[in-house]
Amino acid sequence: MKIRVGILGCGKVADQHATQIRKITGAEIAAVCDSEPLMALQLQERFNASRHFTSASEMLAAGKLDVVHITTPPQNHFESGKMCLEAGCNVYIEKPFTMNAGEAEELIDLAQRRGLKLTAGHNAQFTPAMIRMRELVGKGYLGGAPVHLESIYCYNLGDESYAKALLGDKEHWVRKLPGSLLQNIISHGITKIVEFLKGDNPRVVASGFTSPFLKRIGQDDIIDEVRVIIEDDNLMTAYFTFSSQISPTVHQFRLFGPRNSLLVDDDHQVLIKSENREYKSYLRYFVPPFLFAWQYMENFNTNLRKFIKKDFHLPFDAGMKTLIESFYASINGNAPLPLPYKEIILTARIMDQIFDQISHKQRKTTGKKRPIKQASARSRLGTAR
């Protein structure tokens, strides 16, 4: 079935979306929209979109769109998402999904009432290595529910496309988010943990600070180092680390099960199994290293085979394509939603708590309110469930 797509917000992220959408059979970029007409025009021109608009309401009124991708700065996600749902469109909202959990719940509630679908831009969940991890976990490889998880998500402040723009512009929209840089980035790492959490109200202990590097270059209004401990209703624990200073930049997810464990290395698209096998005496120092080396070779083979079959696009791009395809399949009624709503809400709740705690600690330390502050709908969350 043909899917008519609209893109709302024609900046850098919209390029990634448009690139993946045009690879999907049956999908057509029917309209693009940006309040800046030149930005809308350039996206239309480069991706052969049928029409361009400068007003979301005009785009929605102009013709039936099956799905709208919202790629505006997050401050607009809630209002834009609501407008699209009310116009009868399914909606893909880039991360961070909304400014806080309250908004996320309200949007999801609206989508459900109207029989429409929503998803969040958690494309890091669908990299080839993450998908392989999920298959293994589904087959019971861990030997039960995970005992502990670790998600490490680093950010390279030297990145030309994004970080340079952020650090070079004191008025950049990212700085105006309640969680500043963290709010725009950490959902990728948090949602990996959330996928395995039980219950609706995990306990969160967070600590954050500005790295000496950022302080040195006069960017002490940005918190770029965060450590978080999460515990769910079944006493499963998780650590989340966000860092701009760890080198090389790492995006890893570890699952420690009651029988076996797994490591997902998203930077190299490697999945490593750690099996509970005993080796006698000195053999433990020779056999497991050899088997690990063998696993790395298998990962090499997997990646190479995929590359030869033209199925190894950059991991986050591949993840976005899989997410979009799965979302469109769910819209067509052929598949479940790629991201359960509970995951989207819990991710937002945990992020709210992280920003809240870090902000609170900063206030206690400095006496000043830092950019990370209590999300406005926080009070609603306590009574939501």
């Binding site: 024609c10 900046g11 850098k12 919209a14 390029d15 690139t19 690879k23 800046e36 030149l38 930005m39 350039q42 996206l43 021109e45 480069r46 030309e160 496309s161 723009a165 650090l167 070079g168 512009d169 004191k170 008025e171 270059i217 006069g218 960017q219 590359f307 033209k310 199925d311 190894f312 696009h313």
Partner: protein, 375 residues
């Protein structure tokens, strides 16, 4: 805004001398007077700061410098002498803000528009070249005082697809129109910027001059131009051994740009800027390896690299951009086909001469890279 203090270490590294133009350029042949307001966008940049210094040397008394509020010190404070700073009006702003543009444009007679997008993404380059230019044009076309809008484009916007190797690439050549195929975000942004300037000239009578510098080099820029080759593959591929490299030394380039804002009777002209005595690719690479650092080089004859680019382009299409088409035939032709260049028009219309000879410019450039720790 209080003038920033001079960083003497950096100043000595940048090794500039007195800027070549003198107050005599503001004479009968000039569209403005010394107390008219001039606006320089990108004034803190590599070329912009030299433009400001040249304007100061010319004796202009009201130079408005638009700089981004990055919090970082740029080139300007290293170059501009403290004693002359009373002639500068520093405006912190972003051309993406129409309000900032209006403030910057108030009462200006000449605009030197050097700010540009150098992002790696198409949207980023477009936004910081085209959208910013449109905002600035909207602001300045409302100013009755405007005499000249000097738009800084790039020699990279030309297409040499229909030209043979060695043909002269000058101002009469076609510009690239197939920008999506070329897959060059910088050129995409610059071409759209030029298009806007031409549109405003047609619809609002904008008195413009488009300047298209070649590869600007000199102290302050540590990179070896990609026109010599690429090191994407872990080894430096040297392409187009005998190609002339269209270099222009930063001070020479700045002087040409300044003159483009002053000379009478050149509205609507497009002028390329390259220096005299352009080195061949092999000469430049050899000098660089001798003066800065040696590194392994794999020679890649142009026809071979062209073939590689063609294969890359086809593979990119077949694989649905598993490898993006960053190497393609159009890109290869534009940067490595090998053309000859002329600065005859710049000399004729502007009365410009590249004051710093190529060998002196090279010495300063290499000395800077050695001092700066280089690549």
């Amino acid at each position: 805004m209080a003038p920033p203090s001079v960083d003497h270490t950096r100043k000595s590294m940048l090794e500039f001398d007195d800027f070549g133009l003198s107050p005599s350029v503001i004479g009968n042949d000039s569209v403005i007077k010394e107390d008219d307001i001039l606006l320089v966008t990108g004034a803190n940049g590599f070329v912009g700061s030299r433009v400001v210094a040249t304007l100061l040397a010319c004796g202009f008394k009201r130079i408005r410098c638009l700089v981004r509020p990055t919090g970082k010190s740029g080139f300007l404070e290293s170059i501009v002498d403290k004693s002359k700073r009373s002639a500068l009006e520093m405006v912190n702003g972003n051309l993406l803000s129409r309000e900032n543009c209006s403030i910057a444009a108030r009462g200006v007679s000449v605009v030197y528009h050097l700010a540009a997008g150098t992002d790696k993404t198409f949207a980023g380059c477009f936004m910081n070249s085209a959208v910013t230019t449109r905002n600035l044009l909207d602001a300045v076309t409302g100013e009755s005082s405007l005499r000249r809008f000097v738009n800084i484009s790039s020699i990279a916007v030309y297409s040499n697809e229909k030209m043979r190797r060695g043909d002269l690439l000058d101002e009469t050549c076609e510009v690239e129109t197939d920008l999506v195929e070329r897959y060059d975000p910088y050129v995409y942004g610059k071409s759209k910027q030029d298009g806007l300037v031409l549109e405003y000239a047609r619809t609002k009578g904008l008195p413009y001059v488009i300047m298209r510098p070649g590869v600007v080099f000199g102290p302050g820029k540590a990179q070896l131009t990609g026109r010599v080759g690429v090191n994407t593959f872990g080894v430096f591929l040297h392409i187009g051994f005998d190609n002339a490299i269209p270099l222009t030394y930063v001070d020479n380039c700045a002087e040409a740009i300044v003159l483009a804002g002053l000379r009478k009777g050149i509205e609507g002209e497009v002028i390329n800027i390259v220096d005299d005595d352009l080195p061949k690719s092999r000469e430049l690479l050899s000098l660089y390896r001798k003066e800065v650092r040696n590194f392994p080089v794999l020679p890649a004859p142009y026809p071979v690299f062209y073939l590689l680019c063609m294969l890359w382009e086809k593979y990119s299409k077949w694989s649905e951009e598993q490898l993006p088409p960053v190497f393609n035939r159009k890109y290869c032709e534009a940067y490595w086909k090998g053309n000859t260049y002329s600065n005859a028009k710049a000399k004729k219309l502007l009365g410009w001469r590249p004051r710093i000879p190529m060998d002196v410019g090279m010495d300063r450039y290499f000395a800077y890279i050695r001092k700066a720790g280089s690549l």
